[in-house]
Symmetry: C2
Subunit: 256 residues, 2 copies
């Protein structure tokens, strides 16, 4: 049965997409069956994997019932069992479109239901908001993985995110857990970074991954070649960080 | 009459807030009368200026009619005529709250109407979305200032933003202009950065500022001290970049 992970943080630009793509690819390289679901109307995960969403069936088509989730799956020949359901900019209308719907918070969960036994992990990339798409992702997820750039605005954002998480667990999805918090875009030249990492580790010792992802230009280049870092530059620090994150993630999974 | 500028880009983490605060402070230091309006429920501009929005009247109170815009203005004694209307997390409900309202796109414009002759510039900080708050900001603005981190996702994001801009100009605000595009978080170690800057300059030669803001740790530290960069470290490259941006911005204003 697929474990559904939502990669979520309402703060913008904290490597949610970079993590969805590269943790996903690293898990697939470890022979797990992985589906990335791009739930962000900006479709960065989709574009970063070289896919023009307008040409393909996508998550919006699944939501609107014009195709099945299976029809929207894209496979990549460079990595077996690394699949994608692309996003589309039409997802930005969901806030309004779903406003009256009875099951408005469960569109993602219902769309993915029939895929459960095809994958080990379904990874949801979410937008920098706490709007309907992110709520849908959290309502569907078995676990949330929080990416966090350890800079000033991150602490306040983390506490707001935890409040939202508690609310969703109470109202919509009692079985959701915190899979972990991973520091991203880490650059120790900013002294504040170590202080914030220590602070977060103090408050959430059980959640913070030992692995963190350092700032590395290759990670910013890889999407311009439409590839996960592992295929673009396997020797880079960025690739090693994400492989190490996948290893640590799987270790935690085995201990559950 | 105040000129209203919306600092907007739906891509997350591209220094919208850092620019709203620091361009605003640099203009105030040039003896312009400046009001920052934080229109983002995540309230980063508010927090980055050391203000706890829950304690003060804020933009949500203005929208809900429970206070006048003047009542929500906060002044800073370290810089004359550098004022703020704080955000509040209650703004995140606006999408739903305004859904049925006749004037749903003009809440910001209507709220700021009576402040017009108190300021030279009213700067709106907006969220990483193209939702109701950003649409409100663009419907109210005389000009949009686009901040852009010249990395891979920025090009696709810019073209989507331009589409939204054209739509808003056609449907809601015929007099809105593009005040400019400023590159932020510039780090030439990523070779892609120069290529993207050249590409954007080629397509929008009239819009791209000659000034760009380089990655500089002092800019990430300043909000942890609740200060604009000019007050935190006036000798830093970050401060010089934002002063230079203010000078170039004012030069463009005089040529209009
Ligand atoms: N470790 C890293 N080193 C260098 N660049 C990185 C790293 N991680 C991400 N980036 C780059 O930083 C930018 C922001 O990352 P990304 O788009 O993944 O964040 P996000 O949280 O998904 O943003 P959004 O909130 O807009 O969805 C991108 O240009 C990305 O390529
Ligand atoms: N030139 C710079 N050098 C170093 N750090 C910077 C610079 N500009 C911004 N930052 C830092 O980068 C992060 C993102 O910047 P900021 O929050 O201003 O972006 P934003 O576009 O407002 O994000 P969001 O989309 O979440 O509102 C912050 O931690 C900020 O302090
Ligand atoms: Mg993203
Ligand atoms: Mg911001």
């Amino acid at each position: 049965m697929a474990k559904i992970i939502s990669i979520t943080n309402q703060k913008g630009g904290v490597a949610k997409t970079t993590t969805a793509v590269n943790l996903g690819a690293s898990l697939a390289a470890a022979e797990k069956k992985v589906l990335i679901v791009d739930a962000d109307p900006q479709a960065n995960a989709t574009i970063g994997l070289g896919v023009e969403s307008a040409k393909y069936k996508n998550l919006y088509d699944v939501f609107s019932g014009s195709c099945s989730p299976q029809d929207a799956i894209i496979k990549f020949d460079y990595l077996p069992f690394f699949h994608l359901i692309p996003a589309s900019q039409h997802l930005s209308g969901m806030e309004v479109e779903l406003a009256g719907e009875k099951d408005r918070n469960h569109f993602i969960r219902n769309s993915l239901a029939e895929l459960g036994n095809l994958y080990d992990y379904i990874i949801l990339d979410t937008p920098p908001t706490l709007g309907i798409l992110t709520v849908n992702a959290l309502a569907a997820a078995d676990g949330i993985l929080i990416t966090m750039q350890p800079e000033f605005y991150a602490l306040d954002g983390l506490s707001k995110l935890m409040t939202t998480f508690d609310l969703i667990r109470k109202e919509l999805n009692p079985s959701i857990e915190i899979d972990g918090i991973v520091f991203t875009l880490v650059d120790f030249r900013l002294k504040l970074v170590k202080e914030i990492m220590d602070e977060v580790r103090k408050y959430f010792p059980e959640h913070v991954f030992a692995t963190y992802v350092a700032r590395n230009v290759r990670l910013a280049e890889a999407p311009s070649f439409g590839k996960p870092i592992l295929l673009y530059d396997a020797d880079s620090v960025g690739a090693k960080n994400y492989v190490s994150l996948a290893v640590e993630f799987l270790k935690r999974e085995r201990l559950k």
